[in-house]
């Protein structure tokens, strides 16, 4: 079962929750860090890296000896990545989505695709025996969803019932790539107007994708707050509220996790996963 930990707003505690969930469910869960533009779960988990694997995309290259400058590839490219200027075809790799359309449409067989490394997966075993898989997008590349999808496809170190997915913030294509195909989503937010606004965007996206979700409110100062008001009004479930607590922040800053401060939450964090099962 795949469970994504997502949010609209960044900095609400996705990674904190994901890492704490892994600690609380170490024998039955693995964690994919799919926040590939800035993965950071590894900072909070004592681990040994077992292996690396490159994530590659196919990028077209033109053979100038075969190219007749007909312009069919320019027309075919839905990503505006190709232009013909002077007597050359210019391909802007950073805009290419590796659809392969240009290579197929070329009547002269002048376009061939070659793999280009855009990111890396690194597989680790944590001290608690659980698996951590980290996806990292290479600097200068923009195809974060491709790295996220590769991370989700990677073979697990061992089969476990739960795969946790730490998702990127926002509600753009990276968010969609991380949460799609999951069986359940935890939306982590905070009780601020900004947190509420972005929660609504994330909820709208998940409703569109018909994905079941529950809300988790972090750093609350009161059991009733603007998130609980919203959730009650809309009939959305809130499964956990985590209090504002300086000790949690201090521990996090030292690379510790939620359970170091609140070991009593372990039972709740195990139940959270059980409750996701239909």
């Amino acid at each position: 079962m795949k469970i994504a930990i997502a949010s609209g707003k960044g900095g609400t505690g996705k990674t904190s929750l994901a890492v704490a969930l892994l600690h609380a469910n170490a024998e039955r869960a693995r964690l994919l860090d799919c926040d590939v533009e800035e993965p950071n779960c590894h900072l909070f988990l004592s681990h040994t890296v077992i292996g690396h694997k490159a994530v590659e995309l196919l990028i077209p290259q033109v053979n100038p000896n075969l190219c007749k400058l007909c312009g069919k590839c320019v027309e075919a490219c839905q990503f505006n990545a190709i232009a013909i200027a002077g007597n050359q075809v210019m391909i802007f790799n950073e805009l290419c989505h590796s659809c392969g359309g240009c290579a197929r449409i070329c009547p002269h067989g002048a376009i061939q695709e070659f793999p280009v490394k855009i990111g890396e997966l690194s597989q680790s075993r944590c001290k608690n025996e659980a698996e951590l898989l980290t996806g990292t997008l290479e600097i200068g590349h923009a195809s974060a969803p491709a790295v996220i999808k590769a991370a989700k496809k990677a073979l697990p170190l061992q089969d476990v019932p739960f795969t946790l997915i730490d998702s990127p913030p926002g509600t753009a294509c990276t968010f969609v790539a991380a949460v799609e195909d999951s069986d359940f989503v935890f939306l982590v937010t905070e009780a601020t107007p900004f947190g509420l606004n972005d929660l609504k965007l994330a909820v709208e996206a998940l409703l569109n994708m018909e994905l079941p979700f529950a809300i988790i409110v972090n750093r609350i100062q009161s059991e009733t707050n603007l998130i609980t008001d919203y959730a009650n009004q809309q009939g959305f479930p809130i499964w956990l509220q985590i209090p504002e607590d300086r000790h949690i922040a201090e521990t996090y800053a030292r690379g510790g996790n939620l359970l170091d401060v609140k070991p009593e939450l372990k039972k709740v964090l195990r139940e959270l996963l059980d409750r996701c099962q239909p």
């Binding site: 232009a83 200027a85 002077g86």
Partner: protein
């Protein structure tokens, strides 16, 4: 010789559009015939990416030998440079005035992109 101007309008009194990639059309002035044609660029208004590249392609396809616009980003600059089309920049003035300035040689020619992508 033909010269392309980015614009929202449809006449010589229309103002130069200082956006290049996402200008709605180009007015292409022909010095031989003293007349102009309008070239649609609206498909790039909604482009999610690469608007500058395809606007540059559009300018190349018009056969223009120079471009007058407000600003130009790095990718469009690269394409126009490869096609040997010089880029001149100006304020949002009527195109008729800019044709005069071009003939007098008072327009500033860009030696490199003057704005970042997604400007």
């Amino acid at each position: 010789m033909k010269i392309a101007f980015s614009t929202e309008g449809e006449s010589l009194e229309s103002l130069l559009d200082t956006r290049f990639g996402r200008c709605p059309r180009f007015l292409v002035w022909n010095f031989e015939t003293n007349s102009f044609t309008l070239v649609d660029n609206s498909q790039n208004l909604q482009a999610t990416q690469g608007a500058g590249i395809q606007s540059a392609q559009n300018v190349i396809n018009t056969g223009a030998e120079a471009l007058v616009t407000g600003h130009c980003g790095p990718k469009a600059f690269k394409v126009l440079q490869a096609a040997g089309i010089p880029i001149y920049v100006a304020e949002s003035l009527p195109i008729r005035e800019l044709i005069d300035s071009f003939e007098k040689g008072t327009l500033l020619q860009l030696k490199e992109a003057d704005v970042e992508g997604h400007w």
